[in-house]
Subunit: 209 residues, 2 copies
Amino acid sequence: MKKQHVSHAVIRRLPRYYRRLTNMRDAGIERVSSTKLAESLGLTASQIRQDLSCFGEFGQQGYGYNVEALRAEIATILGVDRGYNAIIMGAGRLGQALMYNFNFAAHGFNLLAAFEGDTEMVGTEITGIPVYHHSKLEEFAAEHPIHMAVLTVPQPVAVETADRLVALGVKGIWNFTHVKLVINDPTVQVEKIHFGDSLLALSYMMSEE
Amino acid sequence: MKKQHVSHAVIRRLPRYYRRLTNMRDAGIERVSSTKLAESLGLTASQIRQDLSCFGEFGQQGYGYNVEALRAEIATILGVDRGYNAIIMGAGRLGQALMYNFNFAAHGFNLLAAFEGDTEMVGTEITGIPVYHHSKLEEFAAEHPIHMAVLTVPQPVAVETADRLVALGVKGIWNFTHVKLVINDPTVQVEKIHFGDSLLALSYMMSEE
DNA sequence: TAGATTGTTAATCGATTAACAATC
DNA sequence: TAGATTGTTAATCGATTAACAATC
């Protein structure tokens, strides 16, 4: 599907474009030029046109872009319309916080279930999502294809949990633990949220001059 | 304190250097060359030496770097040793998850208190940190200097909470809400954790080819 | 001393910006 | 048609990598 190599920098900007276009659409805006979009994102129009040209031609001279159409194109590029299934490994505080506050559906993921250790959460539902004992993972996976897993387990079991997920054929791991995962399978993508690095960058900015 | 302009890319790598050096120190490693450090981080030795040269000369020809000394230098650069005080605004699930799972002290911040709306958490302690009603914020700030605030309040009150924090002279906001904060004061730094953008980048990587 | 490794300068590479012909 | 704005090519800028004299 990719026409050429797409740089990391471009990939990190696509979600921002998508988010802004969604806002615009929801605000009833029909068309937007690269100049307008750039202004609202603090970028240059050139950069946006250059970025989009990695994937095709979505605009029209003299008009600009149709907001809804461009949004849909970027959704496809990002894979938002692929109907990926997701599970949460570890329904502790962080896992629960995501279940309550994060809109998986709005990002294209169907959250099917959560898996937990020996706590009273097992057997209940959180925001309508069933919580199973983690020993039921393989059984569950046999009946539902799992594309992505959110890793919010305690540090000590992070690696073994990731290994189980990879064995089940999961294609993406959203890693909230502070454990570095070494995955042999190159088709498995890992995206890490590293709170510590983020806070240290803030600390640096606060300390400047 | 800054010798020259330091690029965003460098700033984002510094926390990784710090983290790796901390690991090495804890493993009892005394010295490391730029080549070894680069290998363990998947970077080039040139890049590490170039990055460090933004801040000074910390190595020794023929020897490399003393792990503990370099770690201490980077700690200073990052501001980890400044003794910043922090509070958490919003002790909901996400705020609590941070209190239980994130080691503020290890990143140089003293977590003093959390502030919450009308819930049963108010008046209790979580992991030894007192939880006050959010109306007590100004009173608390009058007695304790607050350098940084973690913003984990519900979306609707994110902006007004940020405004109150800025008015109190907070120098950094760690923003976990999905609300874009527009801060007039240029001395206030905002670092955003954007779950959605992260997940969409993962989705893209899962969808490639 | 000989080997190792730094800090820095120069070369390369890649990403961003500018310019503009094409055209809606 | 005239004005606007695209997609793309060329120019610029900045970041990464390579090379090496200095020196521990």
